[in-house]
Symmetry: C2
Subunit: 119 residues, 2 copies
DNA sequence: TTAATGTATGAGCATATACTCAGACAACAA
DNA sequence: TTGTTGTCTGAGTATATGCTCATACATTAA
């Protein structure tokens, strides 16, 4: 018989020591969410392709839309999310916005991720 | 007026050279999806907390459920995903399954991710 | 001012996903 | 065998999310 409420669950724990240890080395309150949002932003093929493209050269919304074969609206929506999480930054040149990766962390994450999937 | 089909979109492109360049340095056909799945797996607070806990010490399903305050069923579902993507591995000791991180890539990704959100 | 171009945004919709619930499976003891 | 414990799994459901569409904003030129 398996209880599903939390109290009962705690009674079945085998290694309370490990749990205590894990609890002590935990992150700051909101860091879990921030970190998850970072990886979530990279966890979509469209956004990932955008990041990969920008890792070589800055590009505008038009370029990205043509490169990905999707509408500029869709690109713009995704760029907003990437902007808000500081994955990309932009600069304006007249009416055109050129997007680039915000810092080196992003390309390093992609590098290590590629190593992993190529095992 | 903004056309939404791809042909029209290509006509408005500003930098065809950049698109060509981005196209040449693209990944293998299925690598985009594999890489996105890796980051997507890390892009959820529950799974991220599991990975963080396992980065210190191997733990069983019971431990993780108590640590996270969720049901063992929910933990098991997430562990299956993490297993299938080679983020975690396990070993059996009698009826108990001990889970651990599959390789060093995962903790490195977390490290760099933390650097990023802490700017 | 008006018009054109590049980009951003909100609403709506279809799909994806994280959890719960119920039950099944696996290993071991009696 | 039966019972217990630890874990796994399929179905259902509520929420999240990625795109389209229509529209609005921003910059520049006429």
């Amino acid at each position: 018989m398996h209880k599903t409420n939390e109290d009962a669950c705690l009674c079945r724990v085998i290694h309370t020591g490990r749990i205590e240890k894990a609890r002590q080395t935990s992150l700051q309150p909101d860091e879990h969410e921030k970190l998850a949002n970072l990886f979530k932003a990279m966890g979509d093929t469209t956004r990932l392709k955008i990041l990969l493209a920008l890792s070589h050269e800055e590009m505008c919304v038009c370029d990205l839309a043509a490169f990905l074969g999707i509408t500029e609206s869709a690109v713009s929506h995704q760029l907003r999310m990437l902007r808000q999480l500081y994955l990309v930054a932009n600069r304006r040149e007249g009416p055109v916005l050129y997007y680039r990766l915000n810092d080196e962390h992003i390309s390093r994450l992609i590098e290590i991720g590629l190593e992993h999937i190529r095992e």
